[in-house]
Symmetry: C2
Amino acid sequence: MFLEDGKYNGKTYEYCAGYQYRDSIIIGFAHTNLSGTGHSDLGDFLLMPTIGDLVLDPLETKKGGKGFYSYFSHNKEEASPGYYKVDLDSYNIKAELTASERVGFHQYTFTKSDEVHIILDMVYNVYYYDNKNVWTFVRVENDSLVTGYRQTKGWARTRKVFFAMVFSKPIKSYGHKKYDDIIYDGFYRRFNQSENFPEMAGKNIRAFFNFETDEDEKINVKFALSSVSTAGALENLKAEIPHWDFNRTHEETKAMWNKELSKIEATTLSEGYKINFYTAMYHTNLSPILYEDVDGQYRGLDQNIHQSEGFANYTVFSLWDTYRALHPLFNIIHPERNNNMIKSMLAHHDESVHNMLPVWSHYANENWCMIGYHATSVIADALVKNVGDFNQERALLASVNTANVRYFDGLGDYLDYKYVPDDKSHSSVSKTLEYAYDDWCIAQMAKQLGNVSVEKTFLNRSQYYNNVFDPIIGFMRPKLAGGTFRKDFDPMDTHGQGFIEGNAWNYGLYVPQDIDKMITMMGGKERFAQHLDSLFTIEIDEKYIANHEDITRDGIIGAYVHGNEPGHHIPYLYNWTNYPEKTQERVRMIMNSMYAPTVDGLCGNDDAGQMSAWYVFSSLGFYPVTPGSPYYALGSPLVKEAAIHLNNGKMLTIKANNQSEENIYVKSVSVNGIIIKGTLLSHQQIINGGEIVFEMSNSPGKK
Amino acid sequence: MFLEDGKYNGKTYEYCAGYQYRDSIIIGFAHTNLSGTGHSDLGDFLLMPTIGDLVLDPLETKKGGKGFYSYFSHNKEEASPGYYKVDLDSYNIKAELTASERVGFHQYTFTKSDEVHIILDMVYNVYYYDNKNVWTFVRVENDSLVTGYRQTKGWARTRKVFFAMVFSKPIKSYGHKKYDDIIYDGFYRRFNQSENFPEMAGKNIRAFFNFETDEDEKINVKFALSSVSTAGALENLKAEIPHWDFNRTHEETKAMWNKELSKIEATTLSEGYKINFYTAMYHTNLSPILYEDVDGQYRGLDQNIHQSEGFANYTVFSLWDTYRALHPLFNIIHPERNNNMIKSMLAHHDESVHNMLPVWSHYANENWCMIGYHATSVIADALVKNVGDFNQERALLASVNTANVRYFDGLGDYLDYKYVPDDKSHSSVSKTLEYAYDDWCIAQMAKQLGNVSVEKTFLNRSQYYNNVFDPIIGFMRPKLAGGTFRKDFDPMDTHGQGFIEGNAWNYGLYVPQDIDKMITMMGGKERFAQHLDSLFTIEIDEKYIANHEDITRDGIIGAYVHGNEPGHHIPYLYNWTNYPEKTQERVRMIMNSMYAPTVDGLCGNDDAGQMSAWYVFSSLGFYPVTPGSPYYALGSPLVKEAAIHLNNGKMLTIKANNQSEENIYVKSVSVNGIIIKGTLLSHQQIINGGEIVFEMSNSPGKK
């Protein structure tokens, strides 16, 4: 998505990943992208091969001519983990892409031409507002090496990314053009900078590199990234891809992906389910991302260069989404990575001028997206599950620091009033509920570490959800600073009713730390089950859906919104009523209706892996309703069988006997031959390995 | 000088140092400034203490109220090397400033007030065009430490400077305001950023820090700089000023200055001459400046961080000016610093994507100001004088590389045509003359290193000045690519006549490598002496002076322009005629008329020390007419006596017997008792120490 200065085109959601299946044109291949986030950024360093007259405008030239884009069609497109291939029909160029961890590897196959161009577009951005470039800098170091950097002010406010790009063939000639309103260039004006001048700098630059090719000649480009410096990018390039064998890198990358994806070997009822399952597995591996050079150096929040000691540094923590199921999933299949992520969060805390754990960690920036301080949940979940070797005392201290930053998003008021007053802060109920849950997570850490005082303080705070429940109407409801509930209130409306991206009907059920108490508060098990029934069946008015970017009819069942996160635990709440079979029904229904093996298979954006992590867990038959506790709620597995290769060398096999489309009910569950009671599974039962067998049935059985 | 976005106010010259004596107001104290350069930049991090209502606009508020400036008067102002004091009358604040090498130290004495503000203005710039800020970033790390950086696109195109500022007293409260047209700030908008929010970022920011004070209470501020990072700035701060004793730092800095200034102990005819001499000595120490952190890290031209191995890294090389006399002066009194500078130039070459030595090295940038590649002169001068331990082979290679960058400023044409064709390049004659001289310097290096091939090539190139001499009119004259001289030509005009900041009359005499041949070419000694006589006495029309920023009547004697550099050697050229006494006359005349012990004592800007170095040399009685040769031309000393403390432990005493205002003629010169013949002094004669005695007289004596 190409955005010119100052315009807002409202297409954030459609284009946040930098790829829109509906499109018929390609304007190039960028080197950083977010996958399934609710906001947009990145899109650094767009590379585009063309043939013929040089055109430097992506979509349309000033005179109305065709931009440098190419038409393409999906039937000449191929994508698999670590590989992408497409025919650029406008130029008769075959483009293939693969990558190592820090280096993109391009392979372009050309026809015979003496007018081949590879365009490096430093203007291109993925962002929903303004041209976010702050500065760009490019050096043509020699006849095949180009280095540079870009600084942007997008979703990440002060963000730098450096590159080193090397061509497999010497550049014949090159040049660049600036797209700035005011181009005053000091005494550089003495040079003819547009042709073969090796030093380019400005706000908006497009560079081009010219080549001659024979028929079927390939030109390869290796494109290394670094958060530290161009020197760092060059070291990454040398370390990761010291050769020009595109297929070798493709094979190595494929092998790495297969290793990760095969951590769970699933047998499914159909090929479609298999595609769904491994697509979900793939998505759960796309972020958080490694954010350090091969030598362990990385740019920190303070914009200084740090060295990761005893960990690998990660970024892209979309924590409001991912603390729910993605990080708990990591605790089972990627504990070492989750350990690195927690250490990265602690480093983030230490580098933060606020002394806060990340809310949304974003390329050496905090972008403050969404609410809560859910890093505490991620840490508590790992801590109670004994995952990792991070410093637990330091983690507790960082969590307590975070939970006491009074100027953070209504937190001071939350501490003073014991709820977030609606007249002082937007999304007041959501914040109250989530702060209370996060505080419970901190209490769990303190408990485990024997810190009675902190445990008591935060257990007390974890009860503040009580203060926004209105027993008269039976809903969580925004409360004013004066102590009265807000008069004007619509529990079905998702706008301005004290909730963010949700309403009292669904988001109001967010008390994962005290589910039994919440149910009692809401009138007991029967009445609560009826609330859930209504939630899943109610006919909601169109007005509640219109103009909501993140919620569409596709992602909704009644007033349950699967396309967004705050309700992801809700289908499992029937377990706490007398109707666990309804959890089984709803979970299977959601898996069937909200995930499909098609290009538009998800009912909302993937939210950095959370939608997919929900699917992986639910497919296996359980779900972490309360991260920070060592228990999972049982659901209804979709797999026939799954072998989970655990980090401790053990293997856990999950079997669903009599699995079928109809047999969605769970008659019994046995762990290593012993039938378990209740609807919970412990982390220990999973991590010990062995066999969990679900006996499936076409009718609800008593548990 | 405060410049708003996009305006050009034409006051570059007046305000390039950030201080204008004529002004009656002060808007604060910045931490980087250039001294006496012909262009402007820097002015980073303006600090201003105020009392009363908070005002964040420097000159005038939007409503027309008074800005935060203060009135001041020169009679309550005090300045000495390493110390500045002024009363800020508008606020009744006494401001004192001192510094170590990398840390500024402020001391503000306040009256009793609960409304004391210290403003950190990140918008303020010294630059002649546009608002040059690219990005600014500030963190309030704790109750007394603030860090941050600024990136600018001024004379240096891609320039970053980092700081760490610490207050002697905890900040009571603080805040900031942005001055950007579009302030979209992502999810930072959730915060009240204007009050006590510790993280600030944007293009244009002014921050303020509030304090309460008692009567006569001092608040100190230490302000450390780094080219590397805020972490680097903080280390510089800790290493250089680990205490709060302002007087101690002042005393230490004063001692360092005295050490440098007393390398020449001069006795003069008058107090005024003494002030002139030591003012000049002071100026010659203001730049080039140290450009590395205490740990030796510095930002290179490639914007990567480098470590200086075996040298200290310097920047601010205004080489078109300073190769003439400043670096030769360093070879006598600061050989170790000049050695570091040459090593810095070699590092610059290695970091340069052009593989070029610096033209104008400017804070990890090349600003390309003026012409030639005079780093070769600096290196050759050190090499033939056996100064330093830099790698001479590497220095020769770097010089040869530099002299072969075809796209540099007409250099390709110079190589092809053996002169710079006037229809292809501006300032064609100046470039031809200076390239030829620089090439001669390279030949001198090659000769010393026994590289016959390079010597021959560059000796050949050093003769290209012949190709722009028109024997018909007897002047250097612009020649076209076709081989004919340009028809329309005015040898007196300094605009568009093939010369830069000069004309054929003065700049045309620039063949320092072949003075005898030039004189022959211009008609022999008598005719050349007449040319010089005319040059110094001609009445030039006002039209030739109007609209020339760098040349005013004050700096002109006839058509000789002392206020600018290309003619600085000219007064000494009489030595090559039959009238060396005229050199003596002119040199004394220039010293008397162009330098004065007053605030406007110079006849032009100091050009980074060159004007002053000319004065120091001339005061001592000799001048390096041809840097790159080990000889100095004799003039007429102004000192009565001077002791030069040489780096080798020896001392050279210069005595001017019978020195007086009238006795400007040199009857004889003896070195260690032996009267020398001719008008040259060798570097060896200086560096051996001992005594050089000038016998002065009131009438020209035969030499």
